[in-house]
Subunit: 335 residues, 2 copies
DNA sequence: TTGTATGCGTTATCAA
DNA sequence: TTGATAACGCATACAA
């Protein structure tokens, strides 16, 4: 079934059918009605390959999701999908491993599929610096800032990672904790981890609290299991900490489980803080105290920035969305 | 950059360049080498729209994921993506709401994108019965059986839902529980919910346990929050139950939180069982006793069935993957 | 082994 | 307002 068939069927020409199907003007009401009805009845769909070949660009928005493990990205995707659903620009999601190069992948997909724009869920500055110039489409880096990169087709929407970590540490300090350990991502491969680590150090200095970068910090991947192991490693060092800050909720939940298994109660023996504000954190026992990145905000602003670049040819800009500390049950004042 | 440019650049003709790029025989080693190198250097990518327009079919596998909320599907997607990555058939994921008609959506996407095959993550028999005949591509329904539908291009890979629910109830009964309540999905819209409900009833009858379909059952969506509310509703009825079975881990985790908030301890006061075997269940406090659907198995068999239909033109078949009961900490023998 | 020519389904330009 | 026609980039049948 092609528009040619539809033309033959309705007695109109190819051109008229195409115009009707694209909601263009200069078509008689009668033609519009007849053709639309015929299309409806036969369940006709334009062939997007032909359409896009002709138009030299696709119609979809591409989302490249780095590490499906990070549940924050899942929640972001839900929100993005919900906003985009029903609209003219379907979302295509491409998942890649934490270790793959998201920018190279994007370069390939852009050449191949010519999407209208690209959303990067997570990403590494180094990769962008090297390969991003090959991309022409408007892009938005989500959850990480691209301000320093200053490409004119790369916007970004992120939280202030330094501040987020600072807020977490400060909260623990305000509760009277002075012996605090930290679980975080690899500072080499994750921008977020690097910035949050900096936030921790600044907060410690600010509050005049000692922190041994070797003994009080443990590197972990962003998974429950890695968080679990990291907490175990910290326990084995016998640093007698009263509080633990994990750079992501997933790690924090893994850590709480490890503490429990080691006979420590949370929050009575150890206060635990997370960062992200995942839904699951509201249902754990105890509920997780965390610094919330507003998923709805991130999704909304990302799409708005992308839309603005695509439709209005606006130029790149970099937004920081506000974060909030949500004090729940996994932290308490030291006795 | 098109193969025309590449032809001009290397001095060969369009046809030769195309043959090289498609790894066809009847090309001299020299031509192959020169053209491949030129393509490499310029980072050339075939235009997939033109290619697919010509070939009359796409190259990708389409996954339609119903309800992103269900974390089991997320885990499945990770596993599927991992298996498919790097292969010749990229995965395109399309998320739709729990209430949308996945088959109509598939019909549209199949006409438009002509994928090689379709994976349905979740689905409703009714929808298939009505609209599936419009689809020509080989498809696999994952997590739900399509045996009764008997379309010759629709395979399925699923767990035995009736048995899974039976195993859960039996386990609780073996621990001495006789007052058991159940949280489940809507039996109208979810096949899994309907079958699991049947399993519950059979187990109750088998064990000669009374179960009031009105008072001991609560319908819930497959989310933490809905599980939470469902448990609250059950508590308010004062049925004095000692065990609760939730038809999904997500609901179970929500229910545990509600029980805690109501001052009930799990498992001391109430034993709770889930179903799915999500990763998060290993990290909750207490760890969740559950009936595990093997995600790796489901993913592996689904892709294999699809591959077999696509490449070897095999016919549809319906597999059941084994499930296992994993007894953890959220259930205990009644005192 | 290589080159040439045709058509895939659409959009867009131009003439009617 | 409509219809004819030329491209879009590629695969492929056929000719050389």
């Amino acid at each position: 079934m092609t528009i040619k068939d539809l033309a033959a069927q309705t007695g109109y020409s190819l051109g008229t059918v195409s115009r009707v199907l694209n909601h263009q003007p200069h078509v008689s009401e009668q033609a519009r009605e007849i053709i639309l009805r015929a299309a409806e009845e036969s369940g006709f769909q334009l062939n997007s390959n032909a359409k896009q070949l002709k138009q030299q660009h696709g119609t979809s928005i591409l989302a490249i999701c780095k590490s499906h493990q990070n549940e924050l990205f899942d929640e972001l995707l839900v929100s993005i999908q919900a906003r985009i659903a029903g609209g003219p620009h379907p979302l295509t999601v491409d998942y890649i491993d934490e270790n793959e190069n998201e920018v190279q992948r994007a370069v390939q997909l852009c050449r191949e599929k010519k999407p209208l724009g690209v959303l990067f869920l997570g990403g590494n500055q180094e990769n962008f610096r090297k390969d991003f110039p090959k991309i022409e489409q408007p892009c938005v880096l989500v959850t990480s800032s691209a301000a320093e990169l200053s490409f004119d087709n790369l916007s970004s929407v992120s939280s202030d990672d330094v501040l987020a970590a600072k807020m977490a540490i400060r909260h623990l300090v305000e509760l009277g904790h002075r012996k605090i350990v930290v679980i975080g991502g690899s500072r080499q491969t994750s921008d977020a981890a690097r910035l949050r680590y900096r936030g921790c150090l600044e907060a410690f200095r600010e509050c005049d609290i000692s922190f041994d970068e070797e003994l009080d910090y443990e590197t972990s991947r962003f998974t429950y299991l890695a968080g679990y192991h990291a907490a175990q490693a910290l326990l084995e060092r016998n640093r007698a900490f009263t509080a633990l800050f994990a750079m992501s909720d997933v790690m924090a939940i893994g850590a709480i489980r490890a503490l429990n298994d080691a006979g420590k109660r949370v929050p009575e023996d150890v206060s635990v803080m997370g960062l992200d504000g995942l839904t699951i954190g509201e249902y754990t026992v105890p509920r997780l105290t965390t610094v919330v990145q507003d998923v709805e905000d991130l999704a909304e602003r990302s799409l708005e920035l992308l839309r603005c670049c695509i439709e209005d040819r606006g130029s790149a800009c970099h937004e920081i969305v506000p974060i909030t500390l949500q004090s729940k049950e996994s932290t308490q004042r030291i006795r």
